[in-house]
């Protein structure tokens, strides 16, 4: 494909797959969580918010180390894996998805939470006076109004998963076609002095990151103008 050798192309494909699945899972998990964080009056909700944000601060090696243990034969991951006769979720694509969900979670939750918070009580109260059930108000009022936040969260989650390195390195096992993603492939190329190939992938990552950030800025601007 595209004239690229397979040991470059396969990691690219795998990375896109991983980032897409992670982003979709995150939208499903993070949206209700962000809604709760934005609306709840529970005193301990900021504790939950802090836990969700931990991956921003913790080095990936810490996350990777605990994930290796949690996914392993002594942790819950091992119990789940035993359902289909495996011993561990480490070294599997599923394991990478779990790790990426954890490490990219804050980047998705935060913008969505902000978007929900920015809506305020007013539109939802209006919806209620028009006899919309809370569920209906969420789907027809809150979610559309928060869509810029959802989009931002999705883009950031996708981009962060593509850029994830430490966690993948710690739990992946570097298996071609299953857990060798772009960032670990680059590491391999540098290690083995294949600097041309490393350069190709790394350069692509720089261009990708630039495009993501630029489109984020432009989107924000557009939404700001639309609101004004």
């Amino acid at each position: 494909m595209l004239g690229l050798p397979s040991d470059i192309w396969v990691p690219i494909q795998l990375t896109i797959e991983l980032a897409a699945i992670t982003t979709l899972s995150l939208l499903v998990v993070a949206t209700p969580l962000a809604w709760w964080l934005a609306r709840s009056r529970a005193a301990w909700k900021e504790g939950v918010a802090a836990i969700v944000s931990l991956p921003i601060v913790l080095p990936p090696t810490v996350l990777g180390f605990y994930l290796l243990i949690l996914l392993g034969p002594d942790g819950p991951g091992g119990a789940i894996a035993s359902l289909w006769g495996a011993r561990t979720l480490a070294f599997t694509f599923t394991g990478l998805v779990i790790g990426s969900i954890v490490s990219s979670m804050p980047f998705v939750v935060q913008p969505i939470r902000n978007a929900f918070a920015a809506i305020g009580d007013r539109p939802l109260e209006v919806a209620a006076t028009l006899r919309a059930s809370p569920r209906r108000a969420f789907w027809t009022v809150a979610l559309p109004l928060a869509s810029p936040g959802l989009l931002t969260g999705a883009v950031l989650g996708f981009a962060h998963t593509v850029g994830e390195f430490g966690v993948v390195l710690m739990i992946g096992g570097n298996i071609p076609g299953r857990t060798r993603v772009m960032s670990t492939a680059i590491f391999d190329f540098v290690e083995t002095m294949r600097w041309r190939d490393a350069n190709m992938l790394a350069g692509g990552m720089v261009v990708f990151a630039f495009a993501v950030i630029l489109s984020m800025i432009l989107l924000e601007k557009r939404f700001a103008r639309a609101r004004a």
Partner: protein, 245 residues
Amino acid sequence: MRLTALVAALGAFLASSAEAAQTHIAVAANFTEPAKEIAALFNQKTGHEAVLSFGASGAFFTQITHGAPFEVFLSADSERPKAAVNGGFALADSLFTYAIGKLVLWSRVIDVTDGEAALKAGQFQKLSIANPVAAPYGTAAVEAMKALGLYDALQPKIVQGNSIAQAFQFVDTRNAEVGFVALSQLYGVTAGTRWEVPQTLYSPIRQDAVLLKTGADSEASKAFLEFLKGPEARAIIERFGYALN
């Protein structure tokens, strides 16, 4: 009178600290523990201080070729020190083998006392090795499996750590039931069972040391390399499970 004694003592102290110097050493991850012991003893004997950095040899090589401030390079292989010499980053006449690594099959789940039989039986799902293109112990593991005629059968079970340290970690956390690690990593480890891979099954893992150009005029760096060849250092190296020339 007392003052002159004090001044004399101070003078002597300053003189000695002027002679004692630092040397910055890039040490292959698998040699971490012995290097620490050797550096401590080196400091005791010579007054010089060896500042150690630990990491993957490949990463160090890349850093050295881009001007990293190391004066001595203790690699996990013989390729990279040679490449450093050929690239003009190191001094050819300083090159020597400081240790020869031994490969071990290790498990905390199944009995690998007879490693060959255990590998043949294949009663495991994951076999951990170091990255064979980047880490010499990984290369040796692949060679050994090929020599046993088991590589094709075992290949689907292989997981790779980016370094021998990570290959060890996968076995230690029992995410992989078995793995090829360095004997030196099992120093002081009693858990599990092990099989020392016969050295006829893989080419010797020569770990070479070299003086880098940046250290060409550094007395401390040269002294460290001399110390590394000496009997005290050799005793430590052997104790940690390496062979010597």
